[in-house]
Symmetry: C2
Subunit: 251 residues, 2 copies
């Protein structure tokens, strides 16, 4: 939090993204900031092209298209979203569980960038933009398993935070699991991050083998079945492979 106005501007931008189209007053209440401050910031973001007044109600604000030009290098010129969306929906239809698309954010974790929900009353809900640690989740380890050993060392040296009783906090245990993920082609998480939440994930790789995203199917522990995990793993891995293929097709 170095430059206050910048930090706030980004908060406002993210709030607009989540609630668009949204008004000054709504944002003001949502973020607990004075109306005039929010207004001034909105005008600034608008002038920079990051926001647009909604065309049907000009007192409401939408995210502008400028943001699309700003993407992580790994995704420059690629169409990850477009390639992933349809296979994700098909996977959801097959399993009827929540499907997430995540991308690595340095070694900080994996960020959820897209989501397809299931129809169960009891379902897993993570928000787009949520970030989760690499060692404690299925999507994280699907990424970690395809990174150089030096990166794994780095993650280990930063400390393996414990989130639940099942979190793998032992480096030896973690490395063994990563070995297995490489062999299987998918990773599994049973209550290791959020208690009661299980997941199976597979990586989407770039042409040079670096992981650029993962597909994850998440479900409550009550619907997780150890015997079915290999089948789910194969389905998720196939979906990830299909997206990898589509990406190269369209590029």
């Amino acid at each position: 939090m170095e430059v206050r106005s910048v930090t706030r501007a980004l908060q406002i931008l993210e709030a607009v993204a989540q609630h668009q189209p949204v008004t000054v007053g709504e944002l003001s209440k949502l973020l607990g900031l004075p109306k005039s401050t929010v207004q001034r910031t909105l005008l600034t973001l608008n002038e920079a092209g990051w926001l647009r007044a909604n065309r049907k109600d000009t007192t409401r604000w939408d995210i502008g298209a400028r943001v699309l030009a700003v993407r992580p290098a790994a995704l420059q010129g690629s169409s990850l979203f477009a390639a992933a969306r349809e296979p994700m929906i098909r996977l959801r239809d097959t399993l009827n569980e929540t499907i997430h698309l995540s991308v690595p954010d340095g070694l900080q974790g994996a960020v959820i960038v897209d989501r397809v929900d299931c129809t169960h009353a009891l379902r897993i809900v993570f928000a787009i933009g949520d970030i989760s640690p690499l060692h404690a989740t299925a999507s994280g380890r699907a990424i970690l398993a395809h990174l150089p050993t030096a990166d794994v060392d780095e993650v280990v040296s930063r400390g393996l935070e414990r989130f639940s009783d099942a979190t793998p906090t032992d480096p030896v245990q973690l490395r063994a699991d990563l070995e297995r993920v490489r062999a299987d082609g998918f990773s599994v998480n049973r209550n290791q991050y959020r208690p009661g939440v299980c997941a199976v994930a597979a990586p989407i790789l770039d042409v040079d083998g670096t992981p650029i995203a993962t597909i994850t199917v998440s479900m409550p522990d009550s619907r997780y079945d150890e015997d079915k995990a290999p089948d789910w793993g194969r389905l998720v891995a196939d979906t990830a492979a299909e997206i990898t293929g589509r990406r190269q097709l369209g590029a």
Copy 2:
């Protein structure tokens, strides 16, 4: 330019996006700002998750994954992407020319959000995120033709910038063309924006008739054939109509 630090932070963010991975000094020279100011802003953006230190060289900066959570409303839920992807590929296979999916950005222009390339050695290449003016391109006029007259007036009053000899800078000429686009169901651009680049486009409409996107086929002038334009137009319009239908089905 209301809040200076925010404006600069966004400039820096965009500069990082274009030159990543980039150092403090490079940015400082590039933008003509003091090193300390750039550094402070970079740290702020980093803390907010919008930037990440490059993994191979920690003094260089990359765009962080957080930005992916911020998207224009038209792309929220990605039903547009999913609906458009397959028809776009089919259209590319039929014509073997570059296909673009664009969305309007207020009245500022149309932004390319997805792309399917052709196989020709000589081909049109625009990047995802590129923005082009509404009056000077096929995709722009496909949008403009389905906006209220007040919006067209607004665009005209902002001035019709000339990009080439063929750019329609006369309001009367523009309005006549829009009339024709409505009648034909597709728009045509022959060297009106980038010399040597021709295109045919059709709009994707929302249930209430407002244009939310366009499908465009772009080709070099050397492959453009006036006689075939109507056929191409019909193909593009059919593709756009199919996407419109899929969107309503899948939503």
